[in-house]
């Protein structure tokens, strides 16, 4: 029989193309008894800021095509990033952590973050979780 497995992801990028796999894997995990821990650091932290997921763009010069990509997402009936986050929180055990050092570096305060953030933590918490996780990713 199935037993709960753990997935730990360092979310380093805040661009749409990288945030999609993060939230797709996390939401798929809710359907497969996988507990997911997302640790947002550096540019990844932007995704946790209010309006950050909605405003995430494609990287580099491709950012100009972000609107077109969003149109395609809509037409293809693919979930948006905020919808995926909602599913993560509604259906499963997905934890969102903001990196405290990044918050200091980027001058982000707790009030700037979306309410879905579970905690503000440091590297020790990630290591503690990652040491007994079954899947580790850096995205």
């Amino acid at each position: 029989m199935s037993e709960t497995k753990k997935m730990a992801i360092i979310v380093h990028s805040g661009t749409m193309d990288k945030l999609y796999p993060v939230f797709m894997l996390a939401s798929a995990g809710t359907a497969m008894d996988v507990e997911t821990h997302l640790f947002f650091t550096f540019w990844g932290l932007n995704a946790l800021k209010k309006g950050g997921l909605e405003g995430a763009k494609l990287p580099g010069v491709m950012r100009l095509g972000t609107g077109m990509m969003k149109d395609r997402v809509k037409k293809a009936n693919v979930s948006t990033l905020p919808q995926l986050l909602k599913m993560c929180k509604e259906y499963g055990n997905v934890k969102l952590y903001a990196c405290s050092t990044t918050m200091e570096l980027m001058k982000v305060s707790k009030e700037d973050l979306i309410p879905e953030v579970d905690d503000i933590v440091g590297a020790a918490v990630f290591l503690d979780i990652a040491l007994d996780a079954d899947i580790h990713l850096f995205i």
Partner: protein, 86 residues
Amino acid sequence: MVNVVSKGYSVTKTLDCRELYCPLPIIKMQKAVKGMAEGEIIKVLATDSGSKRDFDSWCRKTGNKLLESTEDDGVFTYIIEKTGGA
């Protein structure tokens, strides 16, 4: 609409995942199976080309049984028995 009714299986629930893409089909599946009793059978329709492998993996991971998997004109039909958790 393609509606393959498998012979010999008494389907208690049908889940329409057509036009939905990964990861929505398995998320909806999880929700649907949660409300079912063990031994009950669900029929799932999907159009996502990755769903064949996804449902296979989902069943293996959650301990449910994929009884039948067919494709007709781009529509996949899965017959799954709830034999485990969800």
